[in-house]
Amino acid sequence: MPELMMQPDLSAVTASGGVRGAALARWQKSGWPGPRAEAWRYTSLARLSDVDLAPATSLAGGLTGPGALAAAGINAHVIRFENGVVDPAGMSGLPGTVSVATLDGDEPAMAQLADLAPAGHPVSDLSLAVMNGGIVMDVAGAVETPVMLMFEGDDAGASAHPAILVRLAPGASIQIAEWHQSAVGLAAPLIGYDIAAGARLEQVKVQAEGAATTHLAATGVALGEGASIAGFSLSTGGALARLETHVAMQGEGADCQLSAIYMGRGAQHQDITTYMDHAVANCTSNQIIRGVLDDSARGVYQGRVHVAPDAQKTDGQQMSRALLLSRKAEADAKPELEIYADDVVCAHGATVGELDATQLFYLTSRGIPFETARAMLIEAFLIDTIETIENELLAGLLRPVAEAWLAGKETL
């Protein structure tokens, strides 16, 4: 196996053929990306080389923690994963036209997830191969009640591999919140959202993993004709976190709003990586990324936009801004536009800056203590991004997480 670092205990994996077997074979061939892999240039997984993790196989506790409160606050139906293992309790009593089934054994569904998953991403193969159960969720119509996918677990020796396929039928709509707050060694969620023609997904993701956790998320999205996603991620946790999302706009008139905030302090490493594939004409994608980095934290934003030759009238926008609160903090931004059509509007911008000394002086000259003034300006820097979330319910989930980070709290 090339570039061998952490390996799951494959004896615990039951993949013997089919989609999972193929995924396992791919994983065994490619393994973790090495230091020369271009897509991982800014984010090294070398820290996984010394740890010995095994996928968890059983459930222990029940629904606890701040995520439960957050779910209750929006009256969400919760589907819980513990150390990556699905809690069957969440698979019944589902709202409206939602149905959930086990993913393992459903070859067509697993093949669909493999197609949606970010190509070449290690988690795309690994989590498909070693998932324990996994679910496929079908949404047949408009659903009022939000669904929260909750990822918990306190087994520091476990790697968590939840594999989830969410399918929205034509015209369906749903709000989904992903809440990742565990203390597992490696959290490697593989999630696919297949959004059919005219369907709409409103999605938020909270990444507030424990201080020692590595969070590697592989998310794939497919949008049919006139389909839309309004997604927003807030990444504050983990020792190292990479949230990678690939979006395939496959039907004309699809709309993808996918924004993110990352916040890091100490030696945290936060990575947001996105790939927008404008395969057909008349689609729009818009991304606002904000990062706040303190101490010696590092932030990475890689945003690739691909516009196919036939994808005329594409509108693709990216704006990333990082705020460095310390001289030792570092932010890297790598926007890439690959445009093969001639009638498109695409733009990207990336800035890295510090808090404005004049603004800080103005606030402190009014008697406001320095730390408070600083927090006010950081909040102001983030606020317009959170305000782009049309869904108030989902936006409300994010604000306390951001505020807790600003207040320097470890937990919510």
Partner: protein, 251 residues
């Protein structure tokens, strides 16, 4: 009696460039002093040095407020001790809501004084009352601090902050700059309402016209980092007639 503000042989530099070259000035409670001077004389530097802005380095002398040196105090500590600077160019704070900004400032004072933080409803009422006197609309209060404000609105908003914070020592840096006649009148009336036996003001201006509205007890002429001449309010008229060159020659 201890002076409210006592500036003793103050020297200050910006970068390596000496700007203030030995200022002596004593201000007692209840007094309004004006500092006039040509461009580049050190007027704005003096206001920033008093407020404690980074990059304005005191290289000699002292500034005492109520007998205590301000030099080791941070800007927020000075403000809570009663210093207030009305900015020549008020700073825009996109994303910072006006009301939460005003409330944070008032609460910082109250916490320092060991008082309870002010409740939101009561605070809104107080702000509205004071804003009304300055012709500040509810809409302006709801916006982010100074964002989208006209020049005159920004200056009125400075005076509103002063009215809420009730400083003992208020420094007004070129409060008249960028104001038309009507705005000048509104701002001056706002300032005059805040004249109080328990408060002193230092009005920094290039032009005499502001001093027709805010009539000072004392006028000082600043040139090349030193106070060249001091006198009563009639000194401002002298400047109006003969310009700074004439005053400087006479000094």
């Amino acid at each position: 009696m201890t002076a409210l503000l006592e500036i003793r042989d103050l020297h200050a530099s910006v970068g390596d460039k000496p700007i203030l070259k030995g200022i002596d000035l004593t201000i007692n409670t209840g007094e309004v002093h004006a500092i006039m001077g040509p461009n580049g004389s050190g007027k704005s530097t003096m206001s920033y040095v008093l407020a404690g802005r980074d990059g304005y380095e005191v290289t000699g002398g002292d500034i005492l407020m109520n007998g205590e040196s301000l030099l080791e105090m941070e800007p927020d500590e000075r403000a809570r001790a009663g210093m207030f600077l009305a900015f020549q160019y008020p700073v825009e704070l996109p994303g910072v809501g006006g009301m939460s900004f005003l409330r944070a400032a008032v609460n910082a004072l109250r916490i320092e004084a060991g008082e309870e933080e002010i409740d939101q409803l009561g605070f809104v009422k107080i702000v509205r009352e004071k804003a009304k006197l300055l012709g500040i609309s509810d809409d302006m209060l709801k916006r982010a601090v100074n964002v989208g404000f006209s020049g005159g609105e920004k200056k009125r908003y400075e005076i509103l902050q002063m009215a809420l914070l009730e400083p003992t020592m208020a420094v007004l840096d070129e409060t008249d700059s960028g104001l038309d006649v009507d705005a000048l009148r509104i701002v001056s009336e706002g300032v005059n309402l805040l004249r109080d036996p328990g408060r002193a003001m230092l009005v920094i201006t290039h032009y005499q016209r502001l001093l027709n509205h805010i009539v000072p007890d004392y006028v000082h002429i600043l040139a090349d980092g030193r106070i060249r001449k001091s006198g009563g309010k009639e000194l401002a008229l002298e400047v109006e007639e003969s310009g700074y060159a004439g005053v400087d020659d006479a000094a």
